[in-house]
């Protein structure tokens, strides 16, 4: 009896310990997620999803409040309308930009030499995303960013000037990549490219368009003429029609138009802004019924920042069908219309009034077509007659609503002239966002800016 017990205990022990040694080795192999990818295909789709978030999510919503195109009536949105913005409010936006950037950077570093088309697309999208970050926060990490895996978790901040140089360099490199023959690529982008389905001519046009956008941004730094000349030079190869637009699409299922989804989840937080609606109404702008929904009285009206949420939200116009109509309503990220506005401004800066007028008319027409589906030629002609910077930027303010450009242009040119919220503590519209808390507290190399009234470098 004893022997049987001893033997069986011994046998069980030996057997279990033996099998457990191999279990110790294999049990921690992750069955759920890969640790390596074989192609850049899925990375590109993921980074494009991120770009859609950055281009059409909380950032344009936030800045549309500051540019008074919309108005905050409740809770967090009301805070923004009152210019109460803390270092945590836009932390997620910052993280989203760097999350998309990380995966673009992985395409470039892991697959860039074998797959130059992917390299090029990644660089264009990186330029766009870093452009968002630097325009909002000024000095940002770029040259040392995205290196968490190689243990740099405190990247140094590049100056905005360095970032702008790098953006232009990335766009140039992308244009060169796109010019290579397809045989130089192991994988060719296709439907995984949510934006252009692998259409490299469109990517090339977009790269030139972005070069123009970022060249114009430096009009105060480079000087009006230099900037305008560069812009015109880049525009020669940029988007040539609205079919070249960079458009964010939404499947309407799990992925919904973010303006629409916000309005569902945060009903009553935001409505259209009084300044914007009044401008559209006085212009008898055909885009009004597309930009705004009907108010309680069946007309169109906006809430003013000074209403302080007292105006019952159902009394004023909600978001319109053009940008927030349904779960799958697309939003434009970069448009042919913007290209034409850039051209108009450049021509105006170079003193070519007639060219400026015709570009402005084309810009307004493109916008009318994009928003309303048809071109009201009279309207376009009427509002392109004045080729002043003021009118060009004001028309651009209307046309590029839902992008970040109205806020950027307002800071750069001062147009349109907005009256700050008189009920706010500061009575001044912020000209940047604060360094996010995560960077202030966790990155010892961060250039911390703690005032929303310190302009970014190009805005000086």
């Amino acid at each position: 009896m004893k022997k049987i017990i001893y033997t069986s205990i011994l046998a069980i022990s030996v057997l279990t310990l033996g099998s457990c040694q191999s279990d110790l080795d294999s049990y921690n192999d992750n069955p759920n997620n890969p640790t390596k990818l074989s192609t850049p295909v899925t990375l590109l789709s993921g980074a494009e999803i991120g770009t859609i978030m950055n281009a059409t999510g909380n950032l344009p919503r936030t800045f549309s409040l500051l540019t008074q195109q919309t108005n905050g009536n409740q809770l967090q949105s009301l805070d923004f309308t009152n210019y109460v913005m803390t270092e945590t409010d836009n932390e997620t936006d910052w993280s989203n930009i760097y999350q998309a950037g990380l995966n673009l950077n992985e395409i470039i570093t892991q697959f860039g030499s074998a797959d130059p088309y992917y390299d090029g697309i990644a660089k264009v999208l990186m330029a766009l995303n870093m452009g968002y970050a630097t325009d909002i926060w000024g000095d940002i990490p770029f040259s040392e960013a995205f290196q968490g895996v190689s243990t740099n978790i405190a990247p140094k901040y590049d100056t905005q000037q360095q970032v702008y140089t790098q953006i232009q360099a990335y766009l140039d490199a992308a244009i060169a990549d796109f010019a290579l023959s397809s045989s130089a690529n192991k994988v060719i982008p296709g439907t995984d490219d949510i934006f252009y389905q692998g259409d490299l001519s469109k990517w090339t046009k977009l790269a030139y368009g972005l070069k123009a956008r970022y060249a114009m941004r430096l009009s105060q730094r480079d000087g009006s003429t230099t900037a305008a000349t560069k812009v015109l030079q880049y525009l020669a190869n940029a988007l040539s029609s609205s079919s070249d637009n960079l458009v964010a699409t939404f499947d309407g299922g799990n992925n919904q138009n973010l303006w629409y989804a916000f309005n569902n989840q945060r009903t009553g937080y935001m409505s259209m802004g009084k300044y914007f609606i009044d401008m559209l109404k006085s212009n008898v702008d055909p885009r009004l019924p597309f930009f705004a929904g009907k108010d309680a009285a069946g007309g169109y009206s906006g809430a003013a920042p000074e209403d302080n949420g007292d105006a019952s939200t159902s009394d004023v116009s909600p978001f319109g069908s053009y940008f927030a109509g349904t779960a799958s309503t697309p939003n434009i990220i970069f448009s042919y219309s913007e290209v034409k506005f850039l051209e108009a401004e450049a021509q105006a800066r170079l003193g070519s009034t007639a060219d400026a007028q015709s570009a402005l008319q084309a810009a307004i027409s493109a916008s009318l077509k994009e928003v309303t589906g048809s071109v009201d030629a009279t309207f376009a002609a009427t509002y392109s007659a004045d080729a002043s910077i003021k009118n060009i930027i004001t028309q651009k303010y209307i046309a590029l609503f839902t992008t970040l450009e109205p806020y950027n242009d307002w800071r750069r040119t001062g147009y349109p002239v907005l009256t700050p919220n008189q009920n706010s503590q500061s009575k001044k519209i912020p000209v940047r966002l604060l360094t996010p808390r995560a960077e202030r507290t966790l990155n010892s190399n961060a250039t911390v800016v703690s005032s929303m009234y310190t302009p970014v470098w190009w805005n000086n």
């Binding site: 022990s13 990818l37 803390t86 895996v149 992925n255 916000f262 960077e439 507290t441 966790l442």
Partner: protein, 1050 residues
């Protein structure tokens, strides 16, 4: 006065335990049933004449014997000519007495030390006097008295150094238990839960629709699957030293539940218990019933209106800043809180059969709990089936098997910050709206504000249902070769499947896109724990005065789980919840497995029955760590000195013991944390909407936002403990401990600068130290034959401090418990874990608020520490009174200090719902402070501005206004009044069919006295699986309960 050794409770506990042990022992020794003469008798205490249960009767010079039954009676066969019986009982003097028929044996109190026996690590029983660490015992009866269906919640207020936080509100909500302070950040700080020697699962699985800490429902902690009625006793091992032999996570302490077992007896024993109870809402914020819905003080804003498709045609408002109700015709005030909550009802039935003979014992029980909550349509149902058997194969070989099967199911309601949550919508409701008006004529959601679900609508239409089937199996074989060699092989499995389903109906705002298109979440979660232990132990008498107790063993623990989770969105036919009725799907599955192997040993030397020295060591190998860091050894050393035996102390000191220990333990991370992976990329919009793959049919990968670490180490815990135990005057019992425990290399999901490309890094980082003091004091004030009164006090304090942080940073958020209000529990150097870090107001050097031109304080642009939620001390006072068959017991639960962020009250002030905001709407306020030019603030602001933006959390207010400082409470946690009426129905219970009959009435949470202005300071917003405490944001409310229990023993 007769001396008696231990206060009432411990005697009862010991009697039961000794009875059990003696039974086991005798069963193990094996009785010989020879043809012989038998005698019977009764053993009583000379002290009070009460029967002595479980006294050992042995025939002198033999190993044969028996024990007395619950009435103190025994019968024993006398072989041959031997007639002398040796009668003994813990705490009473052993006597030799000649056997006569129907003898009555009186036992005198013994002035010698009582060799109380406790269950320690790995189920090994030890004399308490030898222990070099602190243990606390809770009698199973005390657990029953609380009438808590959750055996964790039942420990609240009963043990020094143990903090229990319930989430309350809905039946089956989880309870969080922390012993000696929070020791970890990313890993659980919950103690190990052990049932009859086997580690069992007590995790909280956030299943379908509850995958965030903030919204969703509160899932149960899985210890809820145990039946309190099956628990004989609970032993709490508090220190790391006590637990060193359990390895992994035992540094958090160990809670050992010992099941009731069968005992040797005549015939079949039947115990029947039935109880019924009522729950009502216990506390509520004072809400105003004077002003109507509205935003500007003059215009009434009508409730949201809805089209026939269920979608809103106007929004309504969530503000109560409207005109006087009396000024608007047709309006009246409703008491919506009263109209919403109902009386919860509980019914609990238990029947147990037990028996035993020479060959073995068994106990089988069946329990059924049926509880409905104070929130309509919430419930908990639990059926437990439990069998414990022990069989003597030979006189040296015994085998036992325990089986527990539980079916637990619940219907739960949404909590917290959730537009389909009940409290959010209910408390914000303008009093002019009637909560009972909850559905449109088509049956769709109808509410005052279109963005929220009506609370009644949501409880009826968006139920979360879960069902768990759980089986805990445990088998063991014990071979007792001799006193010096005993071998035990024990194997156990704890396996369960939870199926959970969350419905969001058509028109509800609760679905993830909040567009009323309906959603279903389906989750099937399987988890299994397997344990195998092989233990050798024995007692060796090295000399006459030196003993050695040794243990050596090995164990293998493995955990396997898999989770299959599917969300169907956008329903086709209204309110059909089969996946086929949805057009968009998100599916994910997660598999996980982990194996731990350990070998361990302990040597316990006893010198002259006065000094004890124990050394333990354990080596673990854990699959979740990188190969180089996978193996770790940890020792402990413990000593105790019974100085009352060594020193010549006055006779009224019956026990004096000093003890000290040092122990080291480790805790390792969960699986798959060593390599950074690619996952489906998720991009979150700050305000809720999100984008992720598959995106219009296109799949994607991106780096996970958390950087993993190929050089992970286990967390390391070192703990020192000193203790003093005293028994004096035969009435006073003191157990005091002081400890300091340092936890280093804590695993953290540390936030890192997002510009690195990652938001978090999973790594070893901070060190945390806990220092504390625990005192348990018992005093038998009266010990008369008929009337007895005893009082037991426990008191503890714990000081927690972060003593090191990674990378010279002095701040990082704790885990991922981000709260959207920008307020987070933070890890800050020199501060306790989880200090509240949030926005604050600018102050001048004199500490005065700086007031802006709008009359409101100026908000600082950054954040800082604004509160500390850890309490200064915790205490409990239990009083027990007994008069003949009537017993009365009540427990006062005390807490001193600790801050709470009362986000509920701040938000309700902002919305003008509170009574405070309505006391004087015409009033103006000047906030004390200075203007920016240094002069005293003289800017008057309106009542509304004051309550919205200063007292409330409105635009421009800081998180600091929501912090309530130094929250104290005195809570009457439970009261129970029992009456034993056995004698009424049975003149002589020992002969009657009815052995025991008891009726008891108990109540829980009868009152709370607190300086907290919110609903209830005891709540855990983030759920018990989180380490976060001190957040109150529309948490479900707590309940007050009344129970009536009837018990019969046959």
């Amino acid at each position: 006065m007769q001396l008696k050794k231990i206060y009432k409770q411990n005697v009862e506990f010991m009697r039961k335990l000794t009875f059990l042990l003696t039974c086991l022992f005798l069963v193990g020794v094996g009785l010989v049933n020879a043809q012989s003469k038998s005698v019977s008798g009764k053993v009583i205490s000379a002290d009070d004449g009460q029967p002595v249960i479980g006294a050992t009767i042995k025939i002198k010079g033999t190993s044969q014997g028996t024990v007395t039954n619950t009435d103190g009676e025994f019968r024993i066969s006398l072989p041959g000519s031997e007639k002398t019986l040796v009668v003994s009982y813990v705490g009473l003097k052993t006597i030799d007495i000649e056997a006569t028929s129907n003898m009555v044996i009186k036992l005198q109190s013994d002035s010698k030390l009582i060799d109380e026996v406790v269950v320690t690590a790995l189920g090994i029983r030890r004399e308490k006097k030898a222990l070099g660490y602190s243990v606390s015992n809770v009698d199973g009866g005390d657990l029953e008295k609380s009438n808590e269906p959750n055996v964790i919640e039942g420990l609240a207020g009963k043990v020094a150094g143990v903090q229990v936080t319930g989430t309350a509100g809905t039946p089956g909500a989880s309870s969080r238990i922390i012993i000696r302070g929070q020791k970890s950040i990313n890993l659980s700080s919950q103690p190990l839960v052990v049932l009859d020697g086997q580690i069992i699962d007590n995790s909280i699985n956030n299943n379908a629709g509850s995958d965030t800490n903030i919204g969703g429902v509160d899932d149960s902690n899985r210890a809820i699957d145990l039946n309190p009625e099956d628990i004989e006793s609970v032993t709490v091992l508090k220190g790391a030293a006590a637990a060193a032999l359990y390895g992994e996570n035992a540094r958090n302490g160990v809670i050992i539940y010992t099941s009731k077992k069968g005992s040797k007896r005549k015939g079949l024993g039947i115990d029947f218990t039935a109880s019924t109870g009522f729950d009502v809402l216990s506390n509520m914020i004072d809400l105003q019933h004077t002003y109507a819905a509205g935003t500007n003080g003059t215009t009434y804003v009508a409730p949201a209106t809805y089209g026939s498709d269920g979608f809103s045609t106007s929004n309504g408002t969530n503000q109560s800043w409207g005109p006087l109700i009396s000024s608007v015709s047709g309006l009246k005030a409703y008491d919506n809180v009263k109209n919403f909550f109902q009386t919860g009802k509980t019914q609990n039935y238990n029947v147990a059969f037990s028996g035993g003979g020479d060959k073995g014992t068994f106990r089988a029980s069946l329990g059924h709990l049926d509880q409905t909550g104070i929130v309509p349509n919430t419930s908990l149902k639990k059926t437990t089936f439990n069998v414990n058997t022990e069989y003597n194969l030979t006189d040296k070989l015994t085998a036992g098997a325990d089986v527990l099967f539980t079916n637990t199911s619940g219907v739960r309601a949404q909590k917290g910050s959730n537009v389909a949550g009940i409290m959010l919508s209910l408390l914000r409701m303008p009093t002019t709206y009637d909560v009972r008006d909850y559905q449109t004529s088509q049956g769709y959601n109808k509410n005052y504000f279109a963005a929220y679900d009506n609370p009644l609508y949501t409880v009826y239409n968006n139920p979360y249902k879960d069902q768990t089937n759980r089986m805990i199996l445990n088998g063991h074989i014990n071979y007792k070769y001799s006193k010096w060699f005993n071998a035990m092989l024990r194997a156990g499995a704890d396996t369960y499947t939870t199926h959970a389903q969350q419905n969001y109906s058509y028109s509800s705002n609760g679905n993830s896109t909040a567009d009323g298109t309906g959603q279903v979440y389906l989750d099937t979660y399987n988890k299994s724990l397997y344990n195998v232990d092989l233990i050798f132990n024995g007692l060796v008498n090295l000399t006459d005065n030196i003993n050695l107790n040794y243990n050596a063993g090995g164990s293998i623990n493995s955990t396997h789980s898999n989770d299959l989770y599917t969300i169907g969105s956008t329903m086709l036919e209204i309110n059909q919840y089969n996946l086929s009725n949805f057009s968009t799907f998100t599916a994910q599955n997660t598999d996980s497995k982990q194996i731990k192997e350990g070998i361990y040993g302990s040597l316990e030397f006893g010198f002259y029955d006065q000094f004890y020295l124990t050394m333990t060591g354990r080596n673990d190998w854990n699959s979740t760590l990188p190969k180089n860091n996978r193996s770790y050894f940890y020792p402990s050393i413990l000593g105790s000195w019974l100085f009352s035996k060594t020193l010549n102390l006055p006779s009224w000191v019956s026990l004096g013991k000093l003890r000290g220990s040092y122990a080291s333990t480790y805790a390792s991370p969960g699986p798959y944390n060593t390599l950074t992976t690619y996952t489906t990329p998720y991009y979150y919009d700050t305000f809720g909407p999100q984008l992720y793959a598959p995106y219009g049919g296109v799949g994607a990968y991106g780096y996970s936002t958390t950087l993993k670490n190929p050089n992970l180490k286990p967390e390391h815990n070192k703990e020192y403990e000193l203790g003093l135990e005293l028994e004096m005057f035969n009435r006073l019992h003191l157990n005091a401990s002081a400890y300091t425990s340092t936890n280093s290399d804590l695993l953290v999901t540390a936030p890192i600068a997002p510009s690195s490309g990652f938001s978090y890094s999973y790594t070893n980082g901070p060190s945390v130290r806990n220092k504390g003091l625990e005192i348990e004091l018992g005093y038998d004030i009266l010990k008369g034959k008929d009337f007895a009164w005893s009082i037991n006090v426990n008191w503890s304090l714990n000081r927690n401090k972060v003593i090191k942080l990674q990378d010279n940073l002095n701040y990082s958020a704790e885990g991922s418990d981000y709260f959207s209000g920008n307020l987070i529990p933070a890890v800050v150097l020199g501060q306790p874990l989880g200090v509240l870090y949030g926005s604050y107001y600018e102050r001048n050097s004199a500490g005065q608020l700086i007031i802006g031109s709008d009359g409101l304080p100026v908000l600082a642009t950054d954040s800082k520490i604004i509160g500390d939620p850890t309490p200064s001390w915790l205490g409990g006072i239990r009083n027990n009174f007994k008069y003949k068959g009537v017993s009365l017991s009540f427990l006062l639960d005390l807490r001193k200090g600790g801050d709470i962020w009362d986000g509920t009250l701040a938000r309700l002030n902002r919305l003008g719902v509170t009574q405070a905001s309505a006391n004087n709407r015409a009033a103006t306020f000047v906030i004390p402070g200075v203007l920016e030019d240094g002069s005293v603030n003289n800017i008057a602001i309106s009542n509304k501005t004051y309550y919205v933006s200063y007292v409330g959390d409105g635009s421009g207010s800081a998180n600091e206004t929501g912090i309530e400082k130094n929250i104290n409470w005195v809570r009457l946690r439970d009261v129970s009044l029992g009456y034993n009426f056995t004698k009424l129905i049975a003149k002589n219970p020992s002969l009657s069919f009815v052995r025991n009959a008891e009726l008891s009435f108990s109540a829980r949470n009868l009152f709370i006295i607190t300086n907290y202005k919110g609903i209830d300071p005891e709540n855990s917003f983030a759920g018990s699986s989180s380490n976060t405490i001190g957040f109150d944001y529309f948490n479900n409310p707590s309940t007050r309960s009344y129970y009536l229990t009837l018990k019969f023993g046959f």
